[in-house]
């Protein structure tokens, strides 16, 4: 192709702005989900029944509702009870809450990979449940979770595109604008696709590196 599509120059600006929003949403939502997910996982493996029930209830609720439905519910439901946040804040918060349920399950599965003998040894040493989780189980478990967590990270990055459906002009939203303006859906969505693939490939590569570094040879 020798001729650049009409308006390419004017197109890159908005798409670049959209990319910034996408990256910011991904980073904030994933960090938030990770923090909440760790708490939830601790709840789910804790010896205290009410905490376990709380963790299970949370995961069941958030993991079984489509993210798009949650987004619409939060974006249009919260203002009805008097909480009008910016679209960006609402959407990022919703995504953090949603993906926390998945991260919780990744962590729980990771914790299961720690041999039972480790927990028994910790108890034999006189550590409390909290101490053994914090000093013995989690540090080992986290290492086996690098790839699964990277998968969740990729899913978070791709799911930010749903924000376009509730009015956030992140990368997909900007692509819609550009399409409306230039009627070149293939061009704008092809460019967007390339960027999404770059994001996911990069995170996959980084996760691979981290995994090799922290792996425990057993």
């Amino acid at each position: 192709m020798t001729v650049l599509p009409a308006g390419l120059h004017e197109t890159l600006g908005p798409l670049g702005h959209g990319l910034q929003l996408t990256l910011a949403m991904t980073a904030i939502a994933f960090t938030g989900a990770l923090g909440l997910g760790v708490l939830l996982a601790v709840c789910r493996i804790s010896p205290v029944p009410p905490l376990r029930a709380l963790g299970t209830a949370y995961v069941t609720v958030f993991r079984n509702v489509p993210l798009l439905v949650l987004l619409v519910l939060f974006v249009f439901g919260l203002p009805d009870v008097g909480l009008l946040f910016s679209l960006f804040a609402t959407v990022t918060l919703t995504m953090a809450l949603y993906w926390a349920a998945f991260i919780c399950e990744v962590l729980r599965a990771g914790i299961r990979t720690v041999p039972l003998g480790q927990a028994e040894a910790a108890r034999a040493l006189g550590l409390t449940a909290t101490q053994s989780i914090r000093h013995i189980i989690l540090p080992q478990a986290l290492r086996s979770m690098v790839q699964p967590l990277a998968n969740v990270f990729i899913a978070v990055a791709l799911s930010t595109s749903l924000a376009a459906a509730v009015g956030v002009a992140e990368m997909t939203g900007q692509a819609q604008f550009v399409t409306l303006k230039y009627d070149q859906p293939l061009t704008s969505f092809a460019a967007t696709t390339v960027v999404y693939v770059l994001i996911t490939l990069t995170s996959g590569l980084i996760a691979g590196r981290i995994e090799r570094k922290v792996a425990i040879r057993r």
Partner: protein, 318 residues
């Protein structure tokens, strides 16, 4: 309408989901306001009801329907196949109780069916902006009545009778809002519109400094205005009026600032049908049927006298 229901395949499922949920939410939010403006509701004194208009509609003389024409085929079948919608207040809305369609488009479709077959027998096929041309080309429907804006590009694929109605982009705001009355007031305001509508483009032209938010559905845009997330909602006036009917918390302000001529989509392969439908439209307009239909539908929410229908063939592509 230009593109209200132009839904890309990518977002079809998403739209369906969001629409369902947003409608449910909107229903909660607007405390029991019922949709469905019925023909007998708030129409001005002396104006005919929707049913009276249909009952009084003319039937074509046999001489107007030559053998071998598409009209003759429809007459033999006894039913007019119409592409349209059942969810557009004022234009084509299904009454959930009786199952009957009312509205300006629905009325015209029934009147055309009656003109050809002698009774207002219509078989409605739901269409979207993506499927209208195809359904006409493959003869699934004989005609499309769907706030279908005539454009030269579309006229390459289908024939347009009309225009039978002229609408345009208008502004919807919350009931208490007095700061926005015309398109110039949208400068530096947050304005939402539907993501597949070309109103977003019109906004770039008429209100370049407005901050535009795209939502998937009409209900979401309406909700955003009601909740104060957006200052205004811009879309075809005809559709915004439908929102105003259903939701007492919003109102349409000012006059349309673009022009959307609505046409009746017909198969390009049957040119005799276009001539026939145009002649029928002229009859309706000169006999006052058009005005009566307007009074019993759009006129129930729009104050003032019925407008003069746009001249047949006046739109580029008709």
């Amino acid at each position: 309408m230009k593109a209200r229901i132009r839904t890309s395949a990518r977002t079809l499922a998403a739209t369906a989901l969001t629409a369902a949920l947003a409608t449910a939410l909107a229903a909660c939010g607007s405390s029991g306001s019922l949709p469905a403006p019925s023909g007998s509701g708030s129409h001005p004194a002396g104006a005919p009801t929707f049913q009276q208009v249909i009952d009084g509609a003319p039937v074509a003389p046999d001489s107007a329907i030559p053998a071998g024409s598409l009209m003759a085929k429809i007459k033999a079948r006894g039913t007019l196949n119409v592409g349209g919608t059942d969810a557009s207040a004022l234009f084509s809305l299904k009454d959930p109780v009786t199952g009957k369609l009312t509205g300006f488009d629905a009325g015209l479709a029934q009147m055309l069916a009656k003109y050809i077959t002698g009774k207002p027998s219509v078989n409605l096929v739901l269409v979207t902006a993506d499927t209208r041309e195809t359904l006409l080309q493959n003869a699934t429907v004989d005609s499309v009545f769907a706030t279908y804006t005539i454009t030269p590009a579309r006229a390459q694929k289908v024939a347009f009778a009309g225009p039978y109605y002229s609408s345009g982009d208008a502004i919807l705001v919350a009931k208490g809002n007095t700061s926005i009355t015309k398109v110039a007031d949208l400068a530096n305001k947050t304005v939402c519109t539907e993501s597949s509508s070309t109103a977003a483009n019109d906004l770039k032209q008429y209100a370049p400094s407005a901050h535009v938010i795209l939502f998937q559905t009409n209900a979401e845009c309406e909700q955003a205005v009601e909740q104060g997330r957006a200052d205004a909602y811009v879309l075809d006036q005809a559709l915004l009026l439908g929102d105003q009917v259903r939701d007492p918390k919003v109102k349409v302000v000012g006059q349309p600032f673009t022009t959307e001529p609505y046409g009746i989509g017909l198969p390009l392969a049957s040119p005799e049908m276009k001539t026939f439908v145009n002649d029928w439209l002229k009859t309706l307009e000169s006999d006052g049927e058009w005005t009566k239909l307007w009074q019993s539908t759009i006129g129930t929410v729009l104050s003032g006298d019925a407008p003069t229908p746009p001249a047949i063939g006046s739109a580029q592509g008709s």
